[in-house]
C-alpha cells in the first residue's frame, strides 16, 4: 500500500468516527468500562502477589534438634545437610541465637525466661529446597535422623497462597476473556450499524473498483480509534480509583502495602491499548465481512 493511500485510509477512519460521534462515544464507553473492570482485577492480582511475596521468602523448612544433642551428632547432621543435593541453602540457628529470638518473640513476657539460659534451646537448621516438590522426601529423611527432634515446614501456607493466586489468575483470565468477547461483540455491533448505514457507499466503492482492503481499512481504523480512546479513558479512571481507593485501603489495613501506581502504570496502559485496539479492529472485521460480497 502506498503512503498516500494509508493517509487517505486513516483520514477516512477519523472522519467516520467523528460522523458517528454518538455511537462511537457509546462504544468507547463500553470498551472503557470493560477495560476498567479488567484493569481492576489485574491490579488486585498484582497487589496480592506483591503482598504475599514475604511468605515465599520465609523458611520453607526448619529442622529442630534435641537440646541434648551432642556436638558429634550435630556435626554429622550439618555435614549431611550441606551435602544434600535437594537443599539449596541452609542457615544454622545455634542455641544462643535461638534464645535471643525467643526473648524477642516473648517481648514483655520475657521474664518467663528469668533464670534460664540458652542451654535448653534447640539448635535448628533453616533449609531452602531447590525444588519444593521434594519436601516430602526431605522431611521423611531428617525426621528420623539421630538427634533430630522435629521437622517443621510452612509448605502448607505456601501451597495455600499459591492456590489462591492461581485461582485468582484463572478467574481473572476467564473474566478478561469474557469481557473481551463482550467488548468485541459490542464494537462489532456499533460498526455494523455504521456499515449498514453506509452499505450503499460500500457497494458504490465496489462498483468503481475499490479493493476489499481499501474499503475495510477505514472501518478498522475506526474500530482502533474507538478501542484506543476507550483504553485511555479506562486508564485515567483506574488511575483515579487507585489514587483514591489506595489511600483508603492502606489506612484501614495497615498490613497491606500497595504497589506504586508508577510501577504498574506503564504495563497497564500498554495492555489496555493493545487490548483496546485489538478489540476494535476485530469488531470491525467481523461486522464488515458480510457487506463486501458484491
Amino acid at each position: 500500500m502506498k503512503l498516500r493511500t494509508a493517509k487517505f485510509v486513516v483520514k477516512e477512519g477519523f472522519v467516520n468516527t467523528y460522523r458517528n460521534v454518538l455511537m462511537s462515544l457509546a462504544s468507547m464507553g463500553i470498551v472503557a468500562a470493560s477495560l476498567v473492570i479488567l484493569g481492576f482485577f489485574w491490579i488486585i492480582t498484582v497487589n496480592i502477589k506483591y503482598n504475599t511475596q514475604f511468605l515465599k521468602d520465609q523458611p520453607e523448612m526448619q529442622i529442630f534438634c534435641n537440646p541434648e544433642m551432642d556436638g558429634h551428632q550435630l556435626g554429622m547432621l550439618e555435614w549431611t545437610i550441606g551435602r544434600d543435593k535437594r537443599i539449596k541453602e541452609y542457615e544454622k540457628v545455634d542455641k544462643k541465637q535461638a534464645f535471643e529470638k525467643a526473648k524477642e518473640m516473648l517481648g514483655d513476657d520475657k521474664d518467663v525466661l528469668e533464670g534460664l539460659d540458652e542451654s535448653f534451646m534447640p539448635v535448628s537448621f533453616i533449609i531452602k529446597l531447590n525444588n519444593s516438590a521434594d519436601y516430602g522426601e526431605v522431611v521423611e529423611k531428617y525426621k528420623n535422623y539421630p538427634g533430630v527432634d522435629s521437622v517443621r515446614y510452612s509448605k502448607k501456607a505456601i501451597d495455600y497462597i499459591n492456590r489462591i493466586l492461581r485461582g485468582l489468575q484463572i478467574g481473572s483470565s476467564l473474566l478478561i476473556a469474557i469481557l473481551v468477547v463482550i467488548a468485541v461483540f459490542i464494537i462489532a455491533n456499533t460498526i455494523k450499524l455504521t456499515v449498514f448505514a453506509r452499505r450503499k457507499e460500500i457497494s458504490i466503492m465496489k462498483y468503481i473498483g475499490a479493493t476489499d482492503w481499501f474499503i475495510r481499512l477505514p472501518f478498522i481504523v475506526e474500530g482502533i480509534i474507538i478501542g484506543l480512546i476507550g483504553a485511555f479513558v479506562s486508564f485515567l479512571a483506574l488511575f483515579i480509583i487507585y489514587k483514591l481507593g489506595g489511600g483508603w485501603v492502606q489506612n484501614d489495613f495497615i498490613m497491606v502495602k500497595l504497589v506504586g501506581m508508577k510501577d504498574v502504570a506503564f504495563q497497564l496502559i500498554m495492555v489496555s491499548c493493545l487490548l483496546g485496539s485489538l478489540v476494535g479492529a476485530s469488531g470491525s472485521i467481523i461486522s464488515i465481512r458480510k457487506y463486501l460480497r458484491v
Binding site: K2, F8, E201, S203, K206, Y207, I208, G209, F214, V294
Partner: protein, 235 residues
C-alpha cells in the same frame, strides 16, 4: 469488446432472467439495450460487471474471460470500466469534486494526476462551477453528470449505463444522452440500457432488443421497435 456466448442466467429463486443470449459489441460502439421491464437488461449489465455469474455460457469483456477472473482481480477489472446508474449513486458525504476524485484515489493514482484529471472530467460534463457542492444540492441531471464524470475520470475503455435517464425529465435526458454520445465519440465504447423509445429512435445506434430473457433483435442503426410492429401498436 463485449461478447456473450450462449449465456443462461438463472437466479437462485428459479427465475430465468436470460435464456441463451449471444451478442457481440465492437470497440467504439454505442449500443442501446432495450426491452420492457423485467426483460433482463440489468441482468446483462450485472454479468458484464461480474456482479453476477452466468449459469451457463461465457462472457468476455475488455479481453477478460470473466469466468476465469479471480475474486482478487475483480477490482482491477472494474477500474477498466465506468458505470452509471439510474439513481446516480454518488457518495452523499463527499463534494462533487471529492466524488470524482475518489474514483481515482482507489486506483492509487498520483496526486498530480488527480489534480489534472478531475477538473478535466468536471469540465467535460459542464460542472466545473459546482465542484464544491454536495450531491443533495444538485438537480438530478447535475448529479447524473457527476456520475458520468466519475465514470470517465479513469479513462475507461467501456462505459456501462443502466437507465441513466430513468429519473430525469425528457429535456435533461437528452442532454445526458448527448453527453454520453460525446464520450463515445472520444473513442469509449458505450452500452446504455434504457426504456426511452424517443431517444433510441432518434439516435440511430446499435440496438439490442431483449424480451423475457431472449434477444429478439440485434440491429446496427436500429430503433426501439421494428417499424412495422411500431406502426401497428402505436395509437
Amino acid at each position: 469488446m463485449v461478447e456473450f456466448k450462449t449465456v443462461v442466467k438463472k437466479y437462485s429463486n428459479g427465475t430465468v432472467a436470460l435464456n441463451n443470449v449471444s451478442f457481440n459489441i465492437k470497440k467504439g460502439d454505442f449500443t442501446f439495450l432495450v426491452g420492457p421491464s423485467g426483460s433482463g437488461k440489468s441482468t446483462i449489465l450485472k454479468l458484464i460487471l461480474k456482479e453476477e455469474e452466468p449459469t451457463e455460457g461465457s462472457v468476455f469483456v475488455n479481453g477478460y474471460d470473466l469466468s476465469v477472473l479471480k475474486r482478487k482481480e475483480i477490482p482491477c477489472f472494474r477500474r477498466s470500466l465506468g458505470v452509471v446508474f439510474q439513481d446516480f449513486r454518488l457518495l452523499p458525504n463527499k463534494t462533487v469534486y471529492e466524488n470524482v476524485e475518489f474514483a481515482m484515489q482507489i486506483t492509487e493514482a498520483l496526486p498530480k494526476e488527480i489534480r489534472r484529471q478531475v477538473p478535466m472530467a468536471l469540465a467535460l460534463v459542464g460542472l466545473s462551477r459546482k465542484a464544491n457542492a454536495y450531491p443533495n444540492q444538485l438537480s438530478g441531471g447535475e448529479q447524473q453528470r457527476v456520475a458520468i464524470a466519475r465514470a470517465l475520470v479513469n479513462n475507461p475503455s467501456l462505459i456501462i449505463a443502466d437507465e441513466p435517464t430513468g429519473n430525469l425529465d425528457p429535456e435533461t435526458s437528452w442532454e445526458i444522452m448527448k453527453l454520453i454520445q460525446e464520450v463515445n465519440m472520444r473513442g469509449t465504447t458505450v452500452i446504455v440500457a434504457t426504456h426511452e423509445k424517443s431517444i433510441v429512435d432518434k439516435m440511430q445506434k446499435h440496438v439490442i432488443a431483449i424480451e423475457r430473457g431472449e434477444i429478439i433483435r440485434d440491429q446496427e442503426k436500429g430503433q426501439y421497435e421494428n417499424e412495422v410492429k411500431d406502426s401497428k401498436i402505436c395509437c
